[in-house]
């Protein structure tokens, strides 16, 4: 990541589309400049050199304000894609937050709360999303509050005009998933995991698959 940051010492031009991909693997965090100094962030990972989210580190290196972030999308709760997500949501105080509609459920919120109290070490994805939700809720009484966008397949997450020079560029972000079938499966799995957590001796996590959302720009 140090090499990526050093290769860009100035922010992109106002009419320049830039897509930056960060991560120990490939694409654990994506930073998109949609023009006119406005940004979209997709998922989050931690820069091991700085200990802070790679996306925020990059914006800071370009002297770009976190308040220039228009949208943060969490596609799923795998650890390598959500580390630092709550920190990112907190820093980008005016950004819209979007995630799968499958997470908008009593079972998921109860599970995330239980996992946060779990004395054993378990994957932290649900807990990180819980914290991100709490960051959004904490802004309820402020002018910058924007309710969470619950994404489903074939729906528009974000649609705005971006002024570039003397023109306006229409920017849209579509959710490609989860489908209705995936949502139904997700709800069933989380209900089972919720029941298991409260009734059995075994700690389990719901399957990850149904929670993934894909986006197209």
């Amino acid at each position: 990541m140090k090499e990526a940051l050093s290769s860009r010492s100035h922010p992109p031009a106002a009419d320049e589309l830039e897509i930056s991909i960060f991560g120990p693997g490939f694409g654990e965090s994506v930073v998109i400049h949609i023009g006119a100094g406005r940004w979209i962030l997709i998922d989050s990972c931690i820069d091991t050199n700085t200990g802070i989210p790679a996306a925020l580190d990059y914006l800071n290196a370009l002297s770009a304000s976190p308040e220039a972030v228009e949208l943060i999308v969490a596609t799923h709760w795998h650890d390598d894609h959500v580390r630092g997500l709550a920190t990112m949501v907190n820093a980008c105080s005016t950004a819209q937050f979007a995630c799968s509609a499958g997470l908008n459920s009593h079972e998921f919120l109860a599970l995330a709360s239980l996992y946060a109290e779990c004395p054993t070490s378990i994957p932290a994805g649900p807990t990180e999303l819980k914290r991100a939700f709490e960051q959004v809720i904490a802004r309820r009484k402020t002018p910058s509050y924007r309710p969470i966008k619950w994404a489903r397949s074939d729906t528009l997450i974000w649609d705005q005009q971006v002024p570039i020079a003397d023109r306006k560029l229409q920017v849209r972000l579509h959710a490609l998933s989860p489908s209705d079938e995936m949502l139904t499966r997700a709800m069933e799995e989380m209900a089972q995991a919720h029941a298991a957590a409260t009734q059995s001796d075994q700690v389990t996590l719901p399957s990850q698959v149904a929670r993934i959302i894909s986006v197209s720009l």
């Binding site: 908008n104 109290e117 528009l156 389990t204 996590l205």
Partner: protein, 208 residues
């Protein structure tokens, strides 16, 4: 061959009918601490280097020798034979895993692995049941959590072994109070999260 436990190999010298060179060898036997003498067997003359030819340690020359029937000879061993205990474990890598799918026909399961040591990207792996302790087999279900420790173990005899161990989470139950807190939290959060918002299919204006 008669076996007799003793901490002092020299005690048996006069009771064994040994080749002359071996008797001469044993006369020079020194008392060794018991811990260094877990077991000593008489070995035939031709498997032990003669004193004038080999200045190596007496104990090592005996232990390295071959066993064969020596007739009236005795084998002897120390009265204590401690099992080497683990004195150190060096953890080299640790994964946390979640079972994604189980295939009982092939006796394997697919798991997602989270690297807790190097923080590399998550990986998926197929693991056979044979890699899991039988006691943990009932715990192999979708969503089950486990840890996978890889490292080096050293015992009191300085023997080093490479260890790869997968252990499933067990014996954990959320308290009734924790369950109620979680449910109350979910009720409150659900109301707050959906206050003034709706599913995207119902909204006509996007982007704020």
């Amino acid at each position: 061959m008669e076996h007799r436990d003793t901490a002092r190999a020299a005690d048996l010298v006069t009771r064994s009918a040994l080749p002359g060179t071996l008797v001469a060898r044993l006369k020079q036997l020194r008392d060794l601490p018991e811990a260094r003498l877990p077991s000593i067997y008489m070995t035939p003359e031709d498997s032990i280097s003669r004193e004038e030819d080999n200045q190596s340690d007496f104990t090592s020359s005996i232990v390295a020798g071959r066993m064969r029937n020596l007739g009236d000879s005795l084998s002897f061993r120390s009265s204590t034979n401690p099992t080497p205990r683990v004195t150190a474990f060096i953890l080299e890598q640790q994964f946390e895993g979640v079972v994604i799918a189980v295939d009982h026909s092939s006796r394997s399961f697919i798991a997602r692995l989270i690297d807790r040591t190097n923080h590399c990207p998550d990986e998926e792996a197929e693991i056979e049941f044979d890699e899991i302790s039988p006691d943990d087999h009932p715990l192999i279900v979708p969503g089950a959590l486990f840890t996978w420790d890889i490292g080096r173990e050293q015992d009191s005899s300085r023997q080093i072994r490479r260890i790869s161990e997968i252990r499933f989470r067990r014996i954990f139950r959320f308290s009734q109070a924790a369950t109620e807190r979680a449910d109350n939290y979910a009720v409150d959060m659900l109301e707050l999260l959906n206050e003034g918002s709706s599913f995207l299919q119902e909204s006509s204006a996007c982007g704020g």
